[in-house]
């Protein structure tokens, strides 16, 4: 799934979300037709076709999309307001701007940088920020700006302020690629964009610190990783993706951690890709992933 800009030129993604009701799909598809666009993919889900919640993602192709964008938005406003639906229209040829926060581990970070270079993530990466300098050379070898924001001591407010300053108006979402610092509620309030984390366990098992040690102690036969949106409740945000790997009695906690790194980087990469493609819709503490 590579993302050549020419492949995505004149492609828009429409997310519609709200109370399910008859005629909704017909209204949306008629709107697309009368705006001279052609549907490329369409996914939808209703948690109950009789009065439930409705979710839809449509990718359509419209020649000269950017010129027509305001008109389509106006039509959407007019058409969907009576239904009481929320909607969001994005130009797929404009990649989202993604900042990565990392610490000393490189496996999730390098995987994202490499997939990006390979053309598999429809994002730009304006910056990588770390509280250590260990990954600086690697990051810059990909041509990505690196910023070092140290974070010693119990008071993280200065570091967070500095990070917010760097992010401010520069990014569309933030990825915590094994960033081993707890994010404050204030930071979340201020940052104003989605924050995606990778947790090194199969949540809700082994919430909190040192999940691989806990997994070893409990004697599990599989370890996992979970990517989720960050909320104020640590390790409790909406789950985007999870996966597991088989382990056995002969593996130490360090072995579990080494094996787990491969699960973490794969799970985080998929979550980032889906988010960047507007495939993930948050609803309560859950996600719809199209």
């Amino acid at each position: 799934m590579t993302f050549h800009s020419d492949k995505l030129r004149d492609h828009a993604c429409l997310i519609v979300h709200g109370p399910d009701q008859p005629g909704l799909v017909a209204a949306v598809t008629a709107l697309i037709t009368r705006n001279k666009a052609n549907i490329v993919t369409l996914d939808q889900y209703s948690d109950n076709p009789e009065g439930g919640e409705f979710f839809q993602r449509v990718v359509f192709h419209r020649p000269e999309l950017s010129a027509a964008f305001p008109e389509i938005e106006a039509d959407l406003e007019k058409t969907l307001s009576p239904f009481g639906m929320e909607w969001r229209l994005t130009d797929q040829s404009i990649p989202k701007r993604m900042a990565i926060l990392a610490s000393t581990s490189d496996h999730c970070l390098l995987e994202l940088l490499w997939r990006h270079r390979r053309g598999e993530l429809p994002v730009t990466i304006p910056m990588v920020i770390s509280n250590h300098t260990r990954v600086a050379d690697d990051v810059r070898s990909f041509g990505i700006p690196f910023f070092h924001v140290p974070s010693q001591g119990p008071d993280k407010s200065e570091a967070e302020a500095r990070i917010l300053e760097l992010l401010k108006d520069n990014v569309d979402f933030v990825v915590l690629a094994r960033y081993m610092q707890i994010i404050s509620e204030d930071f979340l309030d201020e940052v104003g964009v989605p924050v995606i984390n990778i947790h090194h366990s199969f949540l809700p098992a082994f919430i909190g610190a040192a999940p691989y040690r806990k997994a070893k102690e409990r004697g599990v036969k599989l370890i996992g990783a979970t990517s989720h949106y960050v909320t104020k409740d640590l390790d409790e945000g909406p789950i985007i993706e999870q996966d597991v790997a088989r382990v056995d009695h002969a593996m130490s906690a360090a072995d579990l951690q080494a094996r787990g790194a491969y699960v973490e980087r794969a799970v985080l990469s998929r979550a980032v890709q889906w988010h960047a493609q507007d495939r993930v819709i948050r609803y309560g503490n859950q996600t719809i992933v199209f």
Copy 2:
């Protein structure tokens, strides 16, 4: 995924297939709306949005569906003919009639009977036919009619004629659940309904007889199973589903076969379920599975 008849009452499944073109989805969804139906699920795929082949599956709910069925069909005819589309409308509350052909192996057969009893396959099973009697008691313990049609000797035409007689007008599709006889071209021409097979290898690897022995000789590290529609070309029909299991050097060909049985029954069951739910569309030698 259980199939309570009341859950499927007044539900229809519409399959649309043909040349992709602007306005098609809008036309279909408008048709559904004006026929007072509500879309439950909608899947679609186009192999090229600019002039490719278009495939769509819509499940909709329409109160008093059976009364409205002819009207909706007439509307579909009128609406989709100008687009040059093929379509098929089915009442989901009417289960498909599935015949099973088996030999002596019971693993695929019993899995289908058990999933059916459990309410996970939206089918009726008017008959199981076998060239052996070994599975007769098991079949009848599920309350399913069993017919023994012996098939000795090189000339299978008499056995096939007897089977065709049993199937004639009684079934909507046929499943070969490890039926170890080669089906003739004449049989396929006569039977007039889809025939689904389970092959005990990851096709196209190990085509033909004794795939587990060949897998052992080749020293593969995974074995697989493939469910496909039967065509005149042995082991070459459109693939519906495949899966694999890990094996190692310590396993004999008999061990591979025992392990493989679990893959076979799972793969065949999924293929049968998807076919019964009208999720599988054949196109050339491939399948679209929604």
Copy 3:
């Protein structure tokens, strides 16, 4: 992996367990040689070769094993006592006697009965006990005795007493195949043989009741099942085997449960097979699985 009695004739399984120390493996293998036996498989594990805990499983072939059994036991006693090792020698041609406790769900129960009939579980099944009669006919169709022990009301002591009476001296281990009753500490003390349970979640996630509902609420992307030895701490016993299946937002809690049933029956069957083959060694709250 089928278990023909002739294939296991004159085969013994030796489990050795205790403090790791130089010369241990040499001592065991020399003992096997001087007792005219030939090693078929040998697995071992030490959690630390310098002063850790040592675990070994050796299957050996010894013509006229039953005649030689007392001699070999005496030699083991003499040889391994100086090392301070625990050991256990079993004649593999004598299948373990397994009782199954079930309630109304049939998926785990039938899978065990069917794998047993197929020759894949080296056990005899002297009885199935259920607090309901729903599975009685199925059980008896496999030629297995069925006993109904009702268990209404809050006081389970009478039912447990009746079950213990049935089990007493008749079984080598007990399997709870979705037996939806909490086992009392007294029962565990009295029963005197290992008890294996299948829990319908990926432990330690969703401990306790209604795990599929909790999984749906948490929005996980995988569901799992865990087979473990039963201890006094509910859902906390040593884990034998775990596995998972992928789910998505469109699945209800009932759908998760239906999907999970396939994971449960596979996980429990593997755990039972491994236990019956003396492949599982308990150590603290963990298992070594060879």
Copy 4:
């Protein structure tokens, strides 16, 4: 599974292979004991305990291993010759020297370099050779020497001669990390060390060129990758490892290739790791992997 040199100091790996016979394991373990070594891990397999082929891998710890090495070798010679066994003793603290041949694809190459840097591959990498210069900077950023050996035109003999010159006495094995050139029989004769390849299909399916295109045409539901030792018969050498990934009808051949890259790099990395750890024994056209 990281490989700290201090963790492997004074560790030896012994591979024993030949006709199974009583007393063999006892003889080997007694030898290890009398040479003052302690067994760390022991794996063995016999394809038939009565007169079959026997394979064993023992890792043992012997203080001051290098001083004792010649003595242990002499003892092995004396002890195992009467049994007619082949054996090989290696000092695990001496990493194997691995050359990588690559073309323009970087996914397998970078994965190996990164796992090596991470300490997960017990090898040194004296050189990467490519017929293109595209990966040169990446390779050198890992501190690994890069050599460009162009390979235009039908006659590859000059390029192969140049490569052989570079490899000569400098490496213990060669990895073809998506090296898109066919290796001549002469090259294989000359190189004198094992050569490991990654093939971009689940062999024996889609042998030869363009497997992802063929997979798309056949409509398979899983794609795979296979790592194998290179022999004179193209794509027919002993398989070390295989794995698969799920695909669907909506993916183009290019999408299959992109998805497949992740399978390829994982499969090749595992095969390389196991080879480097002396876990793989070739026997006929198969492998025993301990």
